[in-house]
Symmetry: C2
Subunit: 309 residues, 2 copies
DNA sequence: ATGTGCACATAGGCTGTCCCTATGCCTCTG
DNA sequence: CAGAGGCATAGGGACAGCCTATGTGCACAT
C-alpha cells in the first residue's frame, strides 16, 4: 500500500513550518528562495489537499490556525526524520574526500548514526563524514586497515587488535502478526521458538548469526530451517506483518511496528538476546579530532537515556 | 533553513521500499499504480540525487544494494511519520460524518493521537475519526455537550461531571540553546528560573498556565514577565534554538531537539513539572464501541512503555 | 479623513517534470 | 533455440509549479 499522495510533497509542509516560525508567507517564501505568490499558491493547494484552513491570513502576516498547528506539528516529525535521511545520504556520497571515515554495522547505521551525524554537524560543521556500512567483519577490516577512523559493531566479541567502548544496546526480538497464535500468549519457550521455521535473513547475516548463537548458548542444538529467506529487513517485516510467519529482528527495526500494533512482540524464554553496540578503533590509537567528537556524541546518547525519567 | 530538495519527494522513497518488499521494479510500479518505465526512471533519478547505486538490477528482478538498504531504512522512518501525518489529516477532515468524535488537547493530538488512530484502524478499519483540538476547557465542553465521544486533557484537575483515566505522562521542561550559560550547569533553582524572562506562549495557553501554577505551588509568587510571546510551539522552539532565551515546553515537543543537541534541557529545582494526560468521558457513560477501542489502545500504550527495558 | 506601507491574492505565460505507450535488449529456462 | 519475464530507452503529451506584474484589503500615521 503506497503512501497517500496528500503527504508525499514535503516542500509544502516545510513551507508551512517556515510560516509558523517567521509569521508571514512572504518571509517564508524568501527563506525558501521562492517568490511570495508561489508560496501563497502552494499553501492554498496544501489547504485544499488537507481539507481544512491552516492559516489565518491578515494584512499583518499569517498565523496558524489550531488545525494548522496540529498539521505543522505532525509534519515536523516527518521533517525531522527527513533531515536524518538527508544526513545519511550525505554520508553515503564519497564525492568530497572527507576526513572522517566511519564504518558501521547496518543496525547502527540505520538507527543511530543519522542523529549522531546531525549532532556532529553542530559541533564541527565542516566535517564531512563518509559512511561504509557492512557486517562486523567488514567494519573490523576497514578499521584495522585504517580505511575507517572509527567503527561501530554489534558483536559481543570484539575482534583482535581493536579497542572498544559500549555506546548503545540492542536486542533481538521475536515478532508475529497480531492474529498469530503466539500473539495472545506473548511468550514462548526457547525450544519452541527454535523448532519453528522463521522468516529470516540469508545465512551469514549478523542478525541471523546472533539468533543462532543465542540459541546455542541456551543449550539448544537443533533448530528448524528458515521458513523463508529474504534479503532485506523491510521485506522480512512485510512478510511477518502479512502473517507468513514469525520473524526475529532487531528491536530498533520493529519498535515502531510494535508501537503501532502491526506486529506483536513475543518474549522468548531463557535466551539472552541482548547485545551491546560498540564503537571500535585500533588499539593504542585513541581517536582524535572529529572521530573523537563522534565518539563523545555516541557515548553521550547512552547516558542521556538514563537521564530521562 | 529549508529541507534539502533531495529528500522532499517521498514518492520515490516509497517506491524504493516497495521494490525492497516485492523484489522487482515492475511489481513495485504496479503496487503504486504506475507503469514500469515510470518507476524505472524515477528510481534512476533517485539514484542520481542520492549519488550512489541503490539497486542491483538483474534479469530476474531487482535487489537493494547495501547503500540501498540503508537509504530504504532511513526512508522508512520518514514514511512512518508521514503515515502518522496522513492519519492526523484524515481526522481533521469532517467530510464523512464519522462516528467517533475525539476532542484532545494540542499536546495529545500532536504527539500521541496519530499512532493511536493507526492502531485503531487495524482494530476497526471502518471507523473514521474526527478530531477537535483545543485547550482543556474546550475538550471538557465538547465531551460534556456530547459533541465528542472521548476527550483527552492534560490538566491535573479533571473538570466536574467527567470520569477519567490516566493514559500517558507529560512533563514541562526548561530548555536553552547549547551556548546558553545554563546549558553547562544543567540545573537552576526554581527562583532563578521564575525571575528570568522566558520565551513563551501567549498567556492563557495550557503550557504557560501549567508553568505558572507549578511555580505557585512551589511557593514562588513573583515571576518575571515573558521575554517574547509567540503563538506556536514551533516558533518558540526556533527562538530558543536561536538563542533568544530559555523556553518552557512539553517534553514531547523538545525530545527530538534534546536528543539532537540543538537544545539542552535544564533541570529546575524543587518544582513538580509532571502532569498526567487523561482520557475523559461523561461520568456514568462508559465509552462503548470505537470509543472504547480507542481508550483501550491509549491505555495500552502506557503499559507498553513499562514493558520496554 | 486620507494616504501610505505592508502583506497576501490573482492573472497570464512559460518552462520543466512526470507519466504513458511502444519497443528494444538481456538473461534465464524449458 | 525459442519464449517469457524483467529492465531500459525513446518519443510525445499533459499538467503542475514558478515567475513577473498587478490588484486588494487592512492598519497605522499624519
Amino acid at each position: 500500500m503506497p503512501l497517500p499522495s496528500r503527504v508525499t510533497d514535503l516542500t509544502s509542509f516545510d513551507l508551512l513550518r517556515s510560516v509558523a516560525e517567521l509569521g508571514s508567507i512572504g518571509r517564508a517564501a524568501q527563506a525558501h528562495g521562492m517568490s511570495q505568490p508561489s508560496a501563497s499558491e502552494r499553501l492554498k493547494t496544501l489547504e485544499g489537499r488537507v481539507g481544512v484552513t491552516l492559516l489565518e491570513r491578515t494584512s499583518r502576516g499569517a498565523r496558524l490556525t489550531t488545525s494548522g498547528q496540529l498539521v505543522a506539528g505532525w509534519a515536523a516529525q516527518v521533517l525531522a526524520r527527513a533531515a536524518d535521511l538527508d544526513a545519511g545520504i550525505t554520508s553515503l556520497r564519497a564525492d568530497r574526500q572527507s576526513h572522517l571515515r566511519v564504518a558501521a554495522s547496518l543496525t547502527v547505521a540505520e538507527y543511530l548514526l543519522p542523529a549522531w551525524l546531525i549532532a556532529l554537524r553542530s559541533v564541527s560543521p565542516d566535517t564531512a563524514t563518509v559512511l561504509s556500512a557492512g557486517n562486523s567483519v567488514h567494519v573490523a577490516e576497514q578499521v584495522l586497515a585504517q580505511k575507517a577512523d572509527l567503527g561501530f559493531v554489534e558483536s559481543t566479541d570484539v575482534p583482535q587488535g581493536l579497542a572498544s567502548r559500549v555506546v548503545a544496546h540492542d536486542e533481538l526480538v521475536l515478532v508475529v502478526a497480531p492474529d498469530h497464535p503466539w500473539a495472545r500468549r506473548r511468550r514462548v519457550t526457547a525450544a519452541k521458538a527454535a523448532a519453528t521455521p522463521l522468516v529470516s535473513r540469508e545465512s551469514g547475516s549478523g542478525t541471523r548469526q546472533a539468533w543462532e548463537q543465542a540459541l546455542t548458548s541456551a543449550g539448544i542444538t537443533e533448530s528448524a530451517g528458515p521458513l523463508l529467506e529474504m534479503s532485506s529487513t523491510t521485506a522480512i517485516k512485510a512478510a511477518a506483518i502479512g502473517g507468513i510467519g514469525p520473524a526475529v529482528l532487531s528491536l530498533h527495526t520493529v519498535a515502531a511496528d510494535v508501537a503501532a500494533r502491526t506486529l506483536v512482540r513475543v518474549e522468548v524464554g531463557e535466551v539472552d538476546l541482548h547485545r551491546a553496540l560498540r564503537a571500535v578503533w585500533p588499539s593504542g590509537r585513541t581517536p582524535r579530532g572529529p572521530a573523537s567528537d563522534l565518539l563523545t556524541i555516541a557515548t553521550r546518547s547512552l547516558t542521556d537515556r538514563a537521564d530521562r525519567r
